[in-house]
Symmetry: C2
């Protein structure tokens, strides 16, 4: 059961002019599953993408990087589930490229104008023949109303599809931003998440797309973690079709700022949705670290807390065994941390002051907060003005069950 997250109402997902989506069942790994999704982008669309920093990045990630670098303009994305095409060596690259070639032929564009994405089991051979065979049906299905279907089409261990949509008025025109994402394990994105796609019809200068993708990922996907495992396939793609509104040549302009804020909101909703639907998650936890010398040490501390299996199991049990949070803060890697300056709040409850239990703290207050489904852990380092935030979930029996069974 995801934490305070339900499947999106397809009627609430605004189409993005210039983007059509087709979904089909290609039988990549199992029959009768929507496992192949194609995004078709009108000519003139601008695309930026950020990808996993995992050195064992998947073949499709390598091909995406090459194709974006080629600069021919992107006309389609092709996404399969059921197989990650990672840890597949040279053969995996050949198969990822062959999928692009097959789609390029159907669309009469260059293979470099296709971006391929895969998600699923690592180290198995991609059945690219089945994917190629499924492409015509995916193209037949293409419609600008299929964002909800696409959110379903990219799911693996996710329990609900994830899609968010917003509109913002720029220069009198209504500009749309719609995006989808998927999780739900091997989630500790480093540049991007497993898969996230965000599109807008705004007229953003093409040169801005790459920095925009990076900025959006930093404030969203790069701030969530489920299990600390950075995937081989993380990919986050931002599309601007340029159909609507004023030209955005700078993100610092008033229109640029308004658009960025709206896109950031959708990106954060998508990233948080992955945590809310994290494998086995029963709680959504915000870890906020303040008073650091710089944002990096705040983030590092927040991740240490967010990754600690002991902290995560305590949240699962609603047990205010909060010393575990202090232990994680202590081993987060700040060499000259002074434990006598640490403060800890759990929502509104002041738990720790000057590194020791707050004299007014009572176990029942901690207990009351621990029972909630959304909890804010606020840690003060007492050594500066910087802060940062990470979102995570608890570690439950279901996480173990799901990952002990994933392939069966």
């Amino acid at each position: 059961m995801p934490v305070n997250l339900t499947a999106p109402d397809p009627a609430q997902l605004h189409p993005v002019p210039g983007v059509r989506i087709g979904v089909t069942e290609a039988g990549v790994r199992k029959a009768k599953r929507k496992d192949l999704t194609v995004f078709l982008l009108d000519e003139g669309s601008a695309v930026g993408g950020v990808f996993t920093q995992n050195r064992f990045c998947a073949a499709p990630v390598q091909v995406c990087r090459e194709h974006l670098a080629a600069g021919f303009g992107v006309r389609a994305l092709v996404i399969n589930t059921g197989n990650a095409n990672a840890g597949t060596g040279e053969d995996g690259l050949v198969r990822a490229r062959s999928t692009c070639i097959a789609l390029a032929r159907l669309l009469e564009v260059a293979p470099e104008q296709i971006l391929p994405f895969s998600t699923g089991v690592i180290m198995e051979t991609l059945p690219n023949d089945r994917i190629a065979a499924g492409l015509p049906a995916a193209l037949d299905d293409a419609s600008d109303a299929h964002w909800g279907r696409a959110a379903e089409g990219i799911m693996t261990t996710d329990t609900v599809p994830k899609a968010f949509s917003r509109q913002v008025t720029l220069g009198g025109a209504t500009v749309t931003i719609t995006g989808i994402s998927k999780g739900a394990g091997m989630i500790r994105p480093n540049m991007a998440t497993m898969l996230g796609f965000l599109a807008t019809d705004a007229r953003i200068a093409p040169a801005l797309l790459q920095p925009l993708a990076r900025t959006l990922a930093e404030g969203s996907f790069n701030r969530v973690t489920i299990d600390g495992d950075t995937s081989t396939n993380d990919s986050f793609v931002v599309i601007a079709t340029g159909k609507t509104g004023p030209a955005i040549d700078s993100l610092d302009s008033a229109d640029g700022q308004a658009l960025l804020a709206a896109m950031q909101t959708v990106a954060r909703d998508l990233a948080q949705a992955i945590v809310r639907d994290g494998e086995g998650a029963t709680k959504f936890i915000t870890v906020q670290v303040e008073g650091g010398r710089d944002a990096t040490e705040c983030r590092q501390t927040a991740y240490a807390v967010a990754h600690s299996p002991l902290v995560k199991t305590a949240f699962f049990a609603s047990d205010p065994n909060l010393g575990r949070i202090l232990a994680a803060v202590g081993y987060a890697g700040i060499a000259d941390l002074d434990q006598t300056r640490i403060e800890l709040h759990l929502d509104d409850v002041h738990v720790v002051t000057r590194g020791g239990r707050h004299p007014d703290y009572r176990e029942e207050d901690g207990q009351r907060v621990m029972k909630k489904s959304e909890i804010v852990v606020r840690i003060g380092l007492g050594r500066g003005e910087a802060s940062d935030t990470v979102w995570t979930c608890d570690l439950s029996h279901d996480y173990v069950s799901i990952n002990a069974d994933y392939r069966s």
Copy 2:
């Protein structure tokens, strides 16, 4: 059920001349538990210790460091379970010191000659009055035959006591090395483990004890992990009573080398015993990384694999979902790692070559190894001659159950 580890036979634990041990029930947290242990060391004993690098180190760890630095010589150790006296601020320090003062009075030595140790729940007030009240009974119990009782006396979530003993002949004399340790969660020692104590009657020059403790910890406790959580209370103490054998003025001499090897074996056995009895552990896994540029990057990679919840749950399930190992290697932090040079063996099975599935690898071979209770994961980085090894266990339902219930 610990993995291939049974309780030690007390008859096999050789007394160490110069060391007597007393254990009692002080009711620190619960009644009718051996929770207070005192080590009494003859005058002239030399002691070295290494302690957690967690910046939130417990009050007793801070006091141990002070007392060792004072250089008056150590005459006793006092160890309580049930309460970690960590995250307790200034008050915790006062209580740790008061325990030393109480024992010092009974023994007619200086408080600085006592080293205090605590393990248990973090952020609760140490009931030092109960500990002080229990000290006379612990002293009455003192005997050189009580190593087995001591191993029981320091247990928390451990399911079996951990103690090992060896003898080595130096200059015609039989020298004994006996040690105990405890786990079993919050285990990713950084300098030392939760608690480990190793004593010998060898005549080691006092100045050698501190470097010796560091060397022994490096090859043993600093190479194991259960959940990646570095404790606030890790302490590893090495005692040499100087009662027997030739004077050891250098660890590079023939006698020094023989002694070091024997001590290293006991330290490694103690450290591995903690993993074998790791919370919920069903498998003992050796992660061996070779072909690195230096030992540091090998160790870093081994820890990434050993900490990955996805790798650990796959071992629990005996599921050869080995791509998860590649993913962990990829995010271990070697920025210029070349995935096309990675090799992976599981015991004798060659799984990955040049970053992709080995052509001869068959799932049933991987499955066969995954079902074993002891597994060696061997990773080749293909970029140098260095290597390092880490020992860990799997992540099971029981880990979640134990840590969701720990305080109840």
